[in-house]
Symmetry: none
Subunit: 428 residues, 2 copies
């Protein structure tokens, strides 16, 4: 098990993951931990608690892989089959493992439990298997070599798996004499689609270096750009790519790591000792909620207003009856007055105001569903913009709340250039 | 594709699921939808964006399965390989599919976008493939038969997959002439834990009928109780179980299907022609946001206030300085005044007010993180309650917002009995 790349495969078992009642997050956890050693997972196979099928899959894996991690099927019930399967594939009998019995006895004593037959089943392991310590649960893990392939069997309970992986990863790192060289750089962006970003990179960066792996993760509202390198020698290339992307996407990049728009805005407000307030109609409190989800948000955000009806826009924010009558609730004039009213009532430095038609009802030929006006700025300079973003209600609210935060981020940073979505989401 | 059981296999692709950056929930969604037709998934294989490996896996699957569903790899970027792989395995060329181009054009027009080359790649499909409509996204699905195996290729974006599965499941049901005999009844609850619910059922319903499968899905904030029967003859037993559960859990049941607390509250407000307002401190707009996420919420919800700081609690809601000085912001007296202030300013019939310590900072020995006061009711009768719910910030906000909505639901329904969590989350 020296030399590289290792062929690593995962075999995941359990009827509950086959039926979809449980979403398998264990295999992602295993992959992430192996990723720390720059070990990729080549292939994973998931099957139910089915003896012939499990035997077939495990036998096929041990014939091609260097390392197989089996997850699930270690427990005390009759559908826990992993030990039996591994014994069959390795051609050895099951026998009671003294260390596993001792582990079970300690586990039961600590909990004032009687060691029953069902529990004792968990100590029946393939002959010749070595124990992998389970610091939490009753079922030990175990491992053995089949042909040239190392097989490690791990528990399906996520907390137990997590603590067992610490030991497994440390052991692999030592065996492979491999320091953790992989480096993943994540850039968070807003206002770029995956296909636009890909096209821009293809057009502007024809000499993309092979050693920097480019990935996208499109979410709503943010899209992540990921630059992965697998060894320290590629760090300079990764840095150059980052610099070029920062030039190419400029104001669309929010920051590094997992940062959200709300976190970035609060960070910028803190740096400037400034506060923000919100006046929300169609986003209905979502902007406030995104801000206050961030620990410490009370420093930069003291007050938000959800003003859904016209009467409330007047009584709470001081929007004039005239303005509403003349221009309608979804208009440049109304969002401007909402922003000014919120600034005044909250004694804040900056405001975002939003009024739009989230749908599915409420649209008209002049103002179809998806029409929205945003106002943002400070007392001296309120800016406004009308956009048309005709998507499903929840996605509309998500994107417009993000656009509002993005506007504040941009003025706090002094970015004058318009975001690409101003052009793409133009009002008709 | 008649006769049964069908051998169904899933092929899932994407570097982001291999690396563990994304947890694959799509395969669970597919399995659940197939479960409605009592079709099980035999095996699933997950691999990265690797052409030879994808070809090998798909070829092996088409040799043994009746139906293969491929998920992922339909997008516009160079790592989207599914069409290429299927063409290779089927031994046909890729060609531009006119319906797929038309779909892309409509998709772009609707969004005011220009159809670029990267997007156009999504119309290059295996010759002879049929389109599977994607009601949401730019990438169509497609299907074709390889040997005796039907292969359906679906998008990796969960929302797109979800809407595409409606059509796929209806089509399978028609082809298999298999009526959907399986009936799943879902009851949404709030304030019950999975183990508590299980124990209550074990203790109170010892004669649970074997033909009714009982399942729980614990989420935050709601828990779903699922009663599944596999044939029409068991419908009466399912109905009886439901009635008994309704007696047992009483006020903790919100409703049937996927209903949320916010939806239920808005429904009850509509039935009564009444309105609700919110005064939020520690939940920071989340209650307002949950309400306004529901289409048509403007009928029952006109105004919400996010009053994070003391000064704003005074200026916006009219909480008295004295009250704040004497009792602190997180107190029974302050939430009562917040509720009354909000009722007055919003001219609403009902109010929820919340003030608490979401953490991670801001706790004290007297008022530790997790301490929260709620007030709810109408002008004639404001009720209050202090709770201690010491969990991580986001979960705290989620649970407290839900508890606030639950209080309004309970008074609108005239439920006097206290919820179980009042006892469990008692203030020290």
């Amino acid at each position: 098990m020296t030399g590289s790349p290792l062929n690593v495969q995962l075999l995941l078992t359990g009827n509950e993951i086959m039926s979809g009642d449980t979403v398998d997050s264990n295999s992602a956890m295993i992959a992430q931990r192996l990723g720390e050693l720059a070990i990729g997972v080549y292939r994973k196979v998931t099957v139910g608690d089915d003896v012939p099928l499990l035997k077939e899959e495990l036998a096929a894996m041990t014939a091609t892989a260097d390392l197989v991690i089996v997850n699930g099927g270690l427990g005390p019930t009759i559908d826990d089959l992993t030990a039996e399967i591994l014994a069959a594939v390795a051609g050895v009998p099951l026998e009671e493992h003294p260390e596993a019995v001792a582990h079970l006895q300690r586990w039961c004593e600590k909990r004032n439990l009687h060691l029953n037959a069902a529990n004792r089943k968990q100590a029946m392991l393939p002959a010749g298997a070595a124990i992998v310590d389970n610091p939490i649960g009753s079922a030990v893990g175990f491992e053995m070599t089949v042909g040239t392939c190392r097989v490690i069997c791990t528990p399906g309970v996520p907390g137990e798996l997590r603590s067992m992986l610490d030991g497994i990863v440390a052991d692999l790192s030592a065996r492979l004499q491999r320091p953790m060289e992989r480096n993943i750089l994540r850039l968070q962006t807003f206002g770029l689609g995956e296909s636009t970003a890909q096209q821009m990179i293809t057009d502007n960066m024809p000499d993309w270096p092979q050693e920097v792996e480019l990935g996208f993760r499109a979410g709503a509202p943010q899209m992540e750009i990921k630059l992965t390198v697998n060894n320290a020698a590629a760090a300079a290339a990764q840095r150059r790519c980052r610099e070029q992307l920062e030039q190419l996407f400029a104001g669309h990049i929010i920051g590094e790591g997992n940062i959200t728009l709300a976190q970035r805005v609060l960070q910028l407000l803190r740096e400037r000792g400034a506060t923000l307030t919100t006046a929300e109609s169609c986003t209905g409190g979502l902007i406030a909620s995104l801000l206050t989800a961030v620990p410490g948000s009370s420093e930069g955000f003291h007050a938000g207003f959800v003003t859904y009806s016209n009467a409330i826009k007047q009584s709470v924010l001081g929007v004039r009856e005239d303005t509403l009558a003349q221009h309608g609730a979804v208009s440049e004039e109304v969002v401007r007055e909402m922003a000014l009213g919120a600034l005044d009532r909250a004694s804040a430095d900056y405001a975002i105001a939003v009024s739009g038609i989230a749908g599915p009802d409420g649209g008209s030929p002049e103002k179809p569903v998806g029409t929205v006006w945003l106002a943002w700025g400070d007392r001296d300079h309120i800016r406004t913009r009308g956009l048309c973003w005709p998507v499903e209600r929840t996605l509309f609210q998500t994107m417009i709340a993000a656009a509002g935060l993005d506007m504040i981020r941009r003025i706090l940073l002094g970015i004058e250039e318009e975001p690409r979505y101003f052009g793409q989401r133009r009002m008709r």
